[in-house]
Symmetry: C2
């Protein structure tokens, strides 16, 4: 039987959390993408349940946070229970720890079952109507044509799939042949711990398993234990250790360490583990996250860990969030294929830290009631920033130009993707002393200049695949600062500017790079129409754009929003210019006058629209 052959830019294998997140991004970016899953329907509940601050921010960037926030359990307190020294048959509360995650972001940690999040993703994909989740679809073989791998306009991936009957979509069954061959430019393996994709590209994860096995149990407990509705770390002399985490709908999850198994060999004595040993071990078991920048692994397909971290859902979704905007830009010809290197670079280092912390956490529970257990606050504090996801820091690499202590710029600008040469360029940390380059932009409440409406800075940066030049314009009610802003805007708008170089003719000027402003003048002293038109551009159909200029709340005098400049450590008389990636991470920080540096940055990663036409022609040929 001759199979039908179809050509697609992107194929996602697996419609679990990581795969669905990839499909959500692909749908939003209007990619020619497909998502396949061998099961009949989504899992009902799923094993994961903890949702961290950064993950909620990501969901919010797709407009999905409200529904989840409304349903989820919110973690506000963690209690530590230990044996009563007077009677070790009993346990007593030794610590209450306030879960301070909300200070790091806009939310606290949530407890919600994986199935609910997946349903939100499915609803999103169906509402946008561009991608159809192909269930009951098995992958049969995967071949890579080596000769085509370097040509990013080619389709080097050959995937043979087979759809069995009974996927519930009758119209689809009739139209779709039984077997199909997909030629794809890129492939994402989101097919879980026993990843078929991973096997096909010759990777095998075998080490890295801890000796401790955890049992996870979701129940509606009927108990008079007073801390049942907060998260607890419980050590008891008689019955061992337990961790609890409350959930939505009266549920509580219990993590119980089970008997050890000797999978790592008998000479592995956990009492002798040092941090160095853990780090060494972790690096041994980490495989590359991609194959030739054409096949990418996300989620459980590439990293595993115990359930104690509550990290499962988060790291998986964040893998896909990190990857797909880059793929989208390369597929569309907006960015150079070299940026795909950063996926492995950025996510592997996250996975490494996750594995380290996971081992440490497991040991904590394995050890039982000891001295550590009585300082749970200190112990937990070490994990907090990383686990919440807001402490994740990327780079230096092609997409992140880090700060240097001495704040000097190298005179010789970087002109290509060679990272050893790029490292000579630096962001100016002192301009925004509390913004970390390579971390996501911390979000504070700012005021829309035209509507006087209070919004989170992140709401200005929705997940739409665009870069952002964020102009922190300073006190523009002062004539000198306004003059500086006008000069900046002239340069941003010049023929040779980033906006003109990378935006295809006929597209809106902000279709590749958005320009947003937050000024620090008293709002009453600035008229929107006194600003350069670039900052409140005109569209013949829609009128002026009133949603690109915002005001800071200087010294908190103007109402119920933030002095974001102070919180970001930005001088109001100086201001600064930030380049922000489509995933809200900060790439570059420089002076308002340093437009050249921004141009240099983009020149190493984006493709001028004139060259893009050539690529498009090659693709069609």
């Amino acid at each position: 039987m001759d199979s039908k052959v179809t050509y697609n830019d992107l194929v996602i294998i697996g419609a679990g959390l990581a795969g669905l997140m990839a499909a959500v991004w692909a749908s939003r970016l209007r990619l020619d993408a497909r998502i396949l899953d061998d099961k009949v329907e989504r899992i009902q509940y799923g094993r994961a349940d903890g949702l961290h601050v950064r993950t909620l921010e990501i969901l919010d960037s797709f407009g999905m946070a409200n529904a989840i926030n409304q349903r989820a359990y919110q973690l506000r307190e963690i209690c530590s229970w230990n044996p009563d020294p007077d009677d070790d048959c009993k346990i007593q509360r030794t610590e209450r720890i306030r879960a301070k995650e909300e200070e790091r972001g806009r939310s606290c940690q949530l407890g919600i079952h994986q199935g609910f999040i997946e349903q939100n993703f499915i609803d999103f994909i169906q509402r946008e109507g561009r991608i159809h989740i192909e269930r009951n679809t098995k992958t049969k073989s995967l071949q890579l044509e080596d000769a085509l791998m370097a040509d990013h306009t080619a389709h080097p991936i050959c995937l043979r799939i087979e759809r069995t009957a009974g996927n519930g979509n009758t119209a689809d069954e009739v139209r779709t042949p039984h077997e199909e061959i997909i030629k794809a430019r890129y492939l994402i393996g989101a097919d879980g711990g026993h990843s078929w994709t991973r096997d096909q590209i010759g990777l095998r994860i075998d080490g890295g398993k801890t000796k401790v096995h955890f049992g996870v149990l979701d129940i509606v407990p009927i108990t008079d234990f007073p801390d049942i509705r907060v998260s607890c770390s419980i050590h008891s002399t008689k019955t061992g250790s337990t961790m609890t985490f409350p959930r939505e709908d009266r549920l509580v999850r219990f993590y119980v360490p089970l008997a050890e198994t000797g999978s790592e060999g008998d000479d592995f004595d956990t009492s002798k583990v040092t941090p160095e040993m853990i780090a060494e071990k972790a690096s041994q078991i980490l495989f590359p996250f991609d194959r030739g920048n054409r096949v990418f692994l996300v989620g459980d397909a590439i990293h595993t860990h115990s359930p104690t971290m509550g990290a499962g859902m988060n790291v998986s979704m964040q893998d896909s969030y990190n990857l797909v905007w880059k793929l989208g830009q390369v597929i569309k010809g907006v960015a150079q294929p070299g940026i795909l290197d950063t996926y492995n670079d950025e996510r592997q280092s996250v996975a490494r830290r996750l594995i380290e912390m996971d081992r440490e956490m497991c040991e904590f529970y394995e050890k039982g009631a000891g001295s550590d257990a009585h300082n749970y606050d200190e112990f937990y504090e070490r994990f907090r920033t990383f686990l919440s996801g807001v402490g994740v820091e990327y780079g230096p690499n092609a997409l992140v130009v880090p700060a240097r202590e001495d704040d000097l710029w190298d005179s010789k600008p970087c002109t290509d993707l060679d990272s050893s040469r790029c490292r000579r360029r630096h962001s100016r940390r002192s301009l925004a002393s509390r913004i970390s380059i390579g971390q996501r932009l911390p979000s504070f409440l700012v005021l829309n200049h035209a509507e006087a409406n209070i919004v989170h800075a992140h709401s200005m940066l929705p997940a739409d695949g665009r870069w952002c030049q964020l102009v922190l314009a300073g006190v523009i009610s002062k004539p000198a600062q306004m003059a500086r802003l006008k000069t900046l805007c002239e340069r941003l708008d010049a023929d040779s500017s980033n906006l003109r170089t990378y935006t295809p003719e006929g597209d809106k000027a902000n279709s590749v790079i958005e320009v947003l402003t937050i000024h620090a003048a008293p709002r009453r002293k600035v008229e929107l129409f006194g600003l350069p038109e670039l900052l409140r551009p005109f569209d013949p159909e829609l009128g002026y754009d009133y949603w690109r200029c915002y005001a800071n709340n200087n010294e908190g005098e103007e109402g119920d929003f933030d002095d974001a400049y102070a919180k970001w450590g930005v001088d109001k008389d100086e201001g600064c210019l930030l380049v922000i990636r489509p995933d809200q991470y900060v790439s570059l920080l420089c002076r308002l006058q340093e437009v050249e540096e921004v141009k240099q940055f983009f020149s190493t990663i984006l493709v001028p629209h004139k060259r893009r036409k050539t690529i498009a022609a090659a693709l069609e040929a």
Copy 2:
């Protein structure tokens, strides 16, 4: 042709905003209710667009606020523009006024089209699946059997309806006969300004029209007028007056006064209008909101006003919100039919104030650029509290026991519904000096004792038809105060208590009256299981109820929630006991020791469950 005859407890005529809100309540209360509409589908947009603070609280009590908040325009600023004194061909901004509604509630005023709210109501009703919106259904005749009107177990309403084909629901069409007679216990006329129901019961609204007619225009303006995205009051010498109000999706609504018409007679000189004249006029045109406590009019069917107030949606929905929980309690036999009197009493006074303010607002725009126009802030301030809806005050009546200045109780308790006698009882205002009896309970952020989660006090009071005894228990870490609380709980839980008297045997103890606690002890000094079981009751299936006990943030020391006691004016060493209606209005305020007063209050309005059985038997006969 013999028509089918059906018996229903409640029929709602009209599926606009007021009717749908009534149906939402009826669905939530599981009433045997129907809603009829003569149109094929809901209006697409609708004329109303302003949503005030109190209305959003009401929507939130049904879990609908988030979706609306996410979509709507948020009003944060109002600007006043007037002729330039140097060149009256020009106008200039003379004032900026911060829209301070959020200080009165949890939100600001919103701009969102009526159709969106209606769709949320329709979705809610369909999701609950208990009530089907019967469209294409015409009302043909309405008769009231006078002999049955006084018997609230009878069905004195005889409504003949006719359903035409093509309502899109095929299964339904087949099953339903063409004509039907509904015998109903209660009827709500929510059929708009030209209300058929109103005509049938012999009411005619004819006066009360202002001479000024407003044109209302929704457009996406393309303009460089700088304040187009805030609400403006504009007076120009050359082109008259305009009011603007921005909306969702780039829309802006313009209110333009058109030519006057002489409908009120030529001797009505608006320049000579005094407040007294307006009040007199208003009272003349107000008709009773009900007929014999069996047929009720809500929304535009009973009050009309100009669009300038942005009050249309709000007052209509609030009518239904006020009415239907009372109807529900009477239909179920929980409350005495006499409480239905309070609907006319409470909503007519609101309508009266609305008409007064509406006239004042119309005159303001009619007068044009004058001295008033330059003090828009002062002018608007007079309207603010009432318009936001949070200033609405009900009673004194059977459901509201007001405060008296001298704070003394009459020694002789009230024993029936005769309002002249009830007025001898009083709430003790000094116990909660900033809570107004007869207004809705102001909501602040409190901490759930078991989960340490921060929630709004209103979230403890969802729209589920239950009364609430809110125990502000004070500093219960002090033994004397804890003893007082225990005594209170013993009395609340005694055989002769409200909970036992009014809750049917076999039902959960809180099915009619909920008991909620907010204590003012440091949370760490109180264990949930040290509280009387009434405040964290046990259910054999669900376990303990962790969502009924909350903590206050004394002096704001414990985190990011409120010192609600201070904001309510409650002494932390004294505490108090509040009775709150199912619509969140405060009925009664007394000391923790004064359980007898609460019993007296409920005895005049509720029906003991033992007597209810007799009524149920009569209904079945």
